[in-house]
């Protein structure tokens, strides 16, 4: 599969633009080949608000109050700029009046490798995780990203986080987005070590699983998914994300649902990395390559 996540997603949306006259697409001056086709075919339901993310969310809210099914598209880390608009005009307003708004951000984790940390979305999950009613979904490959398009039909608020690079396929064309918010990719043996990946780190977690015996491996799309039952028999849990550790991201979510388990998180901590300019170099700077993670886990299991 050579298509990026966002193009798989926009292809699906394009298919629905004709049959659903309420679908309205907004972008903060950010493009995609598939989005160009939407702009060409449905010019009256596609608007670029320009480089103004606060206005992006406000316009989305106004459209949604009018009953539109809104998708608001921007570079992922820049959604932090409009956190208050998300809070007031989406999360709070949604408590009173039904809204259907999907925020779609590209650039999860380190995926904008050459642009530097200003373009890295490391904190967006934990920050936006604080707003009641905003479901946060991080697909792990282009197929799951396309599958996430069906979520835009549901009432409510969601934030879809897309990698900007084309990641290796994990799923096939039979994939349907799981309502439970996760998939079990490896069942593991008896009392297995659990590896929980998110986004690009799911692919890494699969590589880690190949280096360690009999792991249970879970692709976590939704940090609010309740994994408690899945993790009952697991001896230890390792979470992997290109996101801030210990601050409300995937690791924190698992610790909350499984307070009796030992949870070790792999992710971003310390200082921003300004000199690494490839995905591998960035992941390596934070101990996030498959080799580094497998070595850490092996060390950990000795104790």
């Amino acid at each position: 599969m050579s298509k990026a996540m966002r193009d798989m997603f926009w292809d699906r949306i394009h298919e629905e633009m004709k049959s659903d006259p309420q679908l309205f697409v907004l972008t903060a001056d950010f493009g995609a080949p598939a989005l160009d086709r939407i702009a060409a075919d449905f010019p009256d339901r596609f608007v670029s608000v320009g480089i103004s993310e606060q206005n992006l969310v406000n316009i989305a809210a106004g459209l949604a109050l009018e009953g539109r099914r809104v998708i608001a598209y921007a570079i992922a880390p820049f959604f932090l700029r409009c956190a208050e608009q998300i809070r007031i005009n989406l999360a709070m307003t949604n408590q009173f009046r039904p809204l259907n708004v999907t925020l779609a951000g590209v650039g999860v984790g380190f995926s904008y490798v050459v642009s530097g940390p200003s373009h890295h979305a490391l904190e967006d999950l934990s920050v936006l995780h604080n707003f009641p009613g905003l479901r946060i979904i991080t697909p792990s490959d282009s197929i799951s990203a396309g599958g996430a398009a069906e979520l835009t039909r549901q009432p409510g608020l969601r934030y879809l986080r897309f990698d900007s690079q084309v990641l290796p396929d994990i799923y096939d064309e039979k994939f349907r987005f799981p309502e439970c918010g996760y998939t079990v990719l490896r069942k593991g043996g008896k009392n297995p070590v659990a590896l929980i990946g998110s986004g690009a780190m799911t692919g890494i977690a699969l590589q880690v699983a190949e280096r360690l015996p009999d792991c249970k491996m879970i692709d976590l799309f939704d940090p609010d998914a309740n994994l408690r039952k899945e993790l009952t028999d697991c001896s230890r849990i390792y979470t992997m994300e290109e996101g801030v550790l210990g601050r409300g991201g995937v690791d924190s979510a698992i610790r909350l649902t499984c307070p009796d388990k030992k949870v070790t998180g792999f992710g971003f901590s310390g200082q921003y990395e300004f000199t690494a300019r490839s995905r591998d170099a960035l992941q390596s700077s934070f101990g996030l390559t498959a080799e580094q993670i497998a070595d850490r886990i092996r060390e950990d299991m000795k104790s």
Binding site: Q54, N55, N58, A61, L65, E66, M92, T93, F96
Partner: protein, 272 residues
């Protein structure tokens, strides 16, 4: 409604807003008093198509009070128009009520969550965009304060509305010249030029003269235009209460119950 009747309604609104401040001293009374005449003219003057029994009727004109902390006059106004019973006004000041210091959509007739400033114009522009795309004749009217214009999101919305020719979007700007810490640095004239630069049609009127306000609103809403328009009202923060009018810190001032009583009595005894 003729001018005489409107003046009576406006006076009534002024008194009832003060009364509510007495029930809930947290209500920003100075901010609320600078837009009483505007709200009276707008809502009683037949400028808005409203459906009190169906607050979100699809054909309604949408009104957003973006200066949420100064929108208390909406409570007695919406009650009088039939959105909810007058009894509910007694809830203002109770420890548990939907009728809080800042109106929110739990109150019939309130469209959005405000209190935080600078959001109303953008959300209103989104509504206007939807209505325009659907070729729907309803309009969107947003009430703003001038202090609120400090928020960058306002200008993102203003630029967008100008560029997109959202001629179904109307801004009413309560220019009372004072925010929390005192007099704002920009003048009404400067704000007017800024909106013109953003391709808005502008007009100015005296903010407490009902005849002038009514004429200005008539002009604004009947004008054929291909761009959004703003009416800047030259108002006084705390209008009608001398100690509020002359204080730089009127924003945070509360009035005591005896003072409120005296003010209402004085106003009712004077000419309308």
């Amino acid at each position: 409604m003729n001018l005489e009747q409107l003046k009576r309604k406006s006076r009534q609104l002024w008194c009832e807003t003060l009364k509510l401040h007495g029930q809930e001293p947290g209500i920003r009374i100075a901010s609320s008093l600078s837009c009483v005449e505007l709200l009276a003219a707008l809502f009683y003057g037949g400028f808005l198509q409203l459906y009190p029994n169906q607050p979100y009727h699809p054909d309604r004109d949408r009104f957003i009070a973006s200066k949420g902390h100064g929108a208390a006059a909406l409570y007695p106004l919406l009650s009088d128009l039939g959105f909810f019973s007058a009894e509910r006004l007694n809830e203002v000041g109770s420890p548990r009520t939907a009728f809080g210091m800042i109106p929110d959509p739990a109150v019939p007739g309130i469209e959005t969550v405000n209190g935080s400033l600078g959001h109303g114009l953008g959300v209103g522009a989104g509504m206007a965009l939807s209505l325009k795309q659907a070729h729907h004749p309803a309009k969107v009217v947003v009430l703003h304060g001038d202090g609120e214009l400090g928020e960058g999101s306002v200008w993102e919305a203003a630029a967008f509305a100008g560029e997109m020719h959202l001629n179904n979007l109307f801004l009413l700007l309560d220019v009372n010249r004072k925010s929390m810490l005192g007099t704002c640095r920009r003048s009404l004239e400067q704000w007017e030029r800024m909106f013109q630069a953003f391709s808005w049609k502008t007009a100015v009127c005296a903010g407490h003269d009902l005849a002038e306000i009514r004429n200005a609103l008539t002009e604004q809403f009947s004008r054929q235009s291909d761009c959004p328009s703003v009416l800047l009202l030259d108002t006084v923060k705390g209008h009608g209460v001398p100690e509020l009018e002359r204080s730089e810190l009127a924003h945070v001032m509360s009035l005591k119950p005896e003072r409120i009583e005296a003010l209402i009595a004085e106003r009712m005894n004077a000419d309308v």
